[in-house]
Symmetry: C2
DNA sequence: ACTATTTGTTGAATCGTTTTCATTCCGGCA
DNA sequence: TGCCGGAATGAAAACGATTCAACAAATAGT
């Protein structure tokens, strides 16, 4: 059917071994033979079948990134970081989406079990800590952006507790005392951590925790709008709102704008993620920026190291975040 | 090293052939044997090595989607459609990004040449028509969302000329005569087609074509802002603006908002793509919606058909688009 | 001139599957 | 009893590469 290394060998009048050596730029091959092989390769339009190669070498030089969907443009930078690191070591990154379905996530991990990829990085997994820990015992798995409590697996993320605390502290330092929080009902660990940070900031500043100031919604912008409406109609309404994502914050500001609230003075807004729209949407949103590119780069570097080592590193790495201050906090 | 089919065979006291038959649910295997194999598989935690299987079967049941980056959340729906269709036929979709680099795009296509995937779909290719046509002669390639002039390859997209024309006609029917166009300097075919549609609409309505009403920028929102500024400072400024993407339109509206223009009355705005933000950003943007999911679904269905057929379908399919009318056109 | 070493090459083994082909076993039928 | 057919099984041949082990030829060293 298609051209194999045998055809090339025949055409170049050498053995398949020689062809292989030429193709892999190994030593011990005469110039004559090399040239003949190269000519044959070109003439026949040969391109090696990686299934054969990968089987023999037991490696594919491919890393699978598993994400929920490509909707969150947020992942984009992380993936770029992953590709950069992978590329530098001669690996390719391929992406697959879970559609928020743990079963499908497991199906995708099948590519790892079946040796179709050498390693996998989970960005916001749907599977639980126990399952992942167990899989990580025999396979090259890492997590990025999210950590999981009690999960023994290589993880690269940020300190979401501290990030939440930093954001809220900033609002407090701006003289705000009633700070609303818009978060999600179904929560990833990062959302939980950000909420913990929110509480810590209040506590450390002697501000009483008021349950009514917390709105639990979904990840959609619309949910932010609803949350803002609820909070703003409180008898004692907040003078600042911290949202656990920019998307939610933008939704929230939508309500504020439409009801004539003076954003940045009357009520301050703080988001999380620094997505592209956070500085397109007017007024520009103050937010927490994660080192996305760096997290992606680091997780792949560590993962590749793990693949060669026989006692893999399963630590939790937390990279530094930063506050981006814009109009919604009056900056 | 790891557990192979041989180990399972040994443990179950049968031959590898029988194990294979059980695993693939083939007939002609006794209940006893089947049970023994299944137990052994479970006990050993065996999972088949697909490199061996794929090599033997010469198929991977994997389709590669090649996109520029995951930044355009716009692709998300298309990919979902692709996955739906693939899944239905027992295929997986994996994604890889070109980083806007034609060389890297070619590198990714290497996965196709080296049989690491069974087919590839290009969403907005960086390679030229001639190259792609040639590759499509020997490989299972398809294009989606974008077409390429004189490119003999299976393509699923929309009629961007008509879509552009429809949008501009709508503005004309609203009584507008000076219609600005914000497009990109480096253009994909879809941008070109939308501009052609713009011109056709003017022509058919006897409106003279005015070069100064066209702004050539980039795909960023900022470029839309600049474009709008330029057009609005024209001596004879436009009363409507058609942008070739929502992103650009949102950038454009940013300028309009900040300079106190009454959007939807004084100046109408029309975008393209119907991205999520087009109805989050206020005022809500009128735009052209593509059948993203459907395009993805169709292209994979046709591609899989092509993979089995020996005279592949290389037609151009154009799916119907629709106009979404919101506040920016006064609806 | 003879042995060591290097260099270039090759045939064959290997990777882990699927699948073909042959074989065995067993029951049914004449 | 003898023959046939179908079901269950296993041995071995693929699939297409890499690489080990072996060897011939050439070069170098004494």
């Amino acid at each position: 059917m298609s051209i194999t290394i045998k055809d090339v060998a025949r055409a170049a009048n050498v053995s398949v071994a020689t062809v292989s050596r030429v193709l892999n730029k190994k030593s011990n091959v005469s110039d004559d033979a090399a040239e003949a092989v190269n000519r044959a390769v070109k003439e026949l339009g040969y391109s090696p079948n990686f299934l054969g190669r990968d089987l023999r070498k037991s490696e594919t030089r491919r890393i699978l990134a598993i994400i929920a969907s490509t909707e969150q443009s947020f992942y984009s930078e992380v993936l770029r970081g992953m590709e950069e690191a992978a590329s530098a070591k001669g690996y390719d990154v391929i992406i697959a989406t879970t559609r928020d379905d743990p079963n499908h996530e497991m199906h995708l991990l099948g590519m790892l079990f079946s040796r179709s990829v050498d390693g996998a990085v989970l960005l916001g997994p749907k599977l639980d800590a126990a399952t992942i820990s167990q899989l990580a015992e025999n396979h090259n798995i890492a997590m990025c952006l999210e950590r999981l409590e009690n999960c023994k697996v290589l993880t690269v993320t940020i300190d979401n507790v501290k990030a939440g605390k930093d954001a809220v502290n900033y609002l407090i330092n701006k003289g705000r005392r009633r700070i609303g929080l818009i978060t999600t009902k179904l929560r990833s660990q990062s959302s939980i951590d950000r909420e913990i940070g929110y509480r810590q900031a209040l506590e450390e500043n002697g501000i009483p925790y008021d349950e009514s100031l917390i709105f639990y919604g979904s990840y959609e912008a619309e949910s932010g709008t609803k949350g803002c409406e609820a909070l703003m109609n409180l008898p004692n309404r907040p003078d600042a709102i911290f949202s656990i994502s920019d998307m939610i914050a933008i939704g929230a500001m939508n309500y504020a704008l439409s009801s004539g609230i003076d954003i940045g003075k009357e009520v301050l807004f703080f988001g999380f993620d620094d997505i592209q729209y956070s500085h397109i949407f007017v007024p520009h949103l103050s937010t927490v920026r994660q080192p996305c590119f760096l997290q992606g780069k680091m997780v792949v570097e560590k993962l590749i190291e793990n693949m060669k080592s026989d006692e893999p590193d399963k630590s939790l790495y937390m990279l530094p975040h930063s506050l981006i201050l814009r109009e919604t906090t009056g900056d």
